[in-house]
Symmetry: C2
Subunit: 173 residues, 2 copies
């Protein structure tokens, strides 16, 4: 039978059951799957912006997709740090490979609160007539949700599927 005390007690029990007790791994997995599904459109949109800015050669706009403390790790060169580092990296890249085209395909998003990891594939097509070869491969991006709700790139690394050329044969002098 309900007493006058019950509503507050029920509220306390419900609140404690819901969250004062830590989640079981199964509960966490279910919640994180729901969060990952909910976050995926925002991550897809972030990648679409990345591709749009890349294909327009806009290093400033690309830099602004990153956190202030970002780490971007291109293959076969040093990592860069911060938005200035990204701007410099991309400006150099666009000088070397103007009017090239990038595509990105998200394969998986895993999210937990303000943290998300995005795994996928990229492909790169240089402007016709340049010596740079076409290239494609995989990437992993760590996104962080900002206080304003936007997602920014905290860590970005990618590499190519294309095998390295064999080392040149040793020359005799």
């Amino acid at each position: 039978m309900l007493t006058r005390r019950s509503p507050a007690l029920l509220l306390a029990v419900a609140a404690l059951a819901a969250c004062a007790k830590p989640e079981t791994p199964e509960q966490a997995a279910t919640r994180m799957q729901a969060e990952s599904d909910a976050v995926r459109p925002a991550i897809e949109a972030g990648n679409a912006s990345y591709v749009r800015y890349f294909n327009a050669g806009q290093a400033d706009s690309l830099a602004a997709l990153h956190t202030e403390n970002t780490h971007v790790m291109p293959p076969n060169g040093p990592a860069v740090h911060g938005r200035d580092g990204v701007r410099e990296l991309m400006t150099g890249f666009f000088q070397q490979a103007p009017s090239s085209q990038l595509t990105i395909r998200v394969e998986d998003v895993a999210a937990n609160g303000p943290m998300a990891v995005d795994r996928g594939r990229w492909s790169f097509t240089p402007q016709a007539g340049t010596p740079m070869p076409a290239d494609s491969g995989k990437y992993l991006v760590h996104w962080h949700r900002q206080a304003d709700g936007s997602w920014q790139i905290q860590d970005d690394i990618w590499n190519s599927d294309v095998p390295l050329p064999p080392p040149p044969p040793a020359r005799r002098r």
Copy 2:
């Protein structure tokens, strides 16, 4: 003045204040920094195990550090999926580069509950006398805490700092 109803009410209010209300971004940042610091030793230990197994050429033990659904993305080759994929990748690598030595240096760990991202550097020293060159670069690993509390590798990607060799000059026929 406390009434007979107060303890349950206080409990309800405390429980709701503590967790039914979502964290502010600042509260989340503070909590996640504490979690990241707390988790770092386990991630460091996971990397130490990785290095130990790598340097002993133990593909089975390396595979067991990964989740069942892992994605491992080596540079200049295709990604592999699952523990069998890792075992096959590493077995092939050890045949090509036996008795090579790996080091890993963790630079940053970001964690939120069962999800962690580990960024760092690696360096690789082949066995003396082999044609394979020394190499070094950066990596990003997405770890997932399992129900038993252990951390396993969900996604792993790395690349080299070493610039690609210039393309060979075109030959005239």
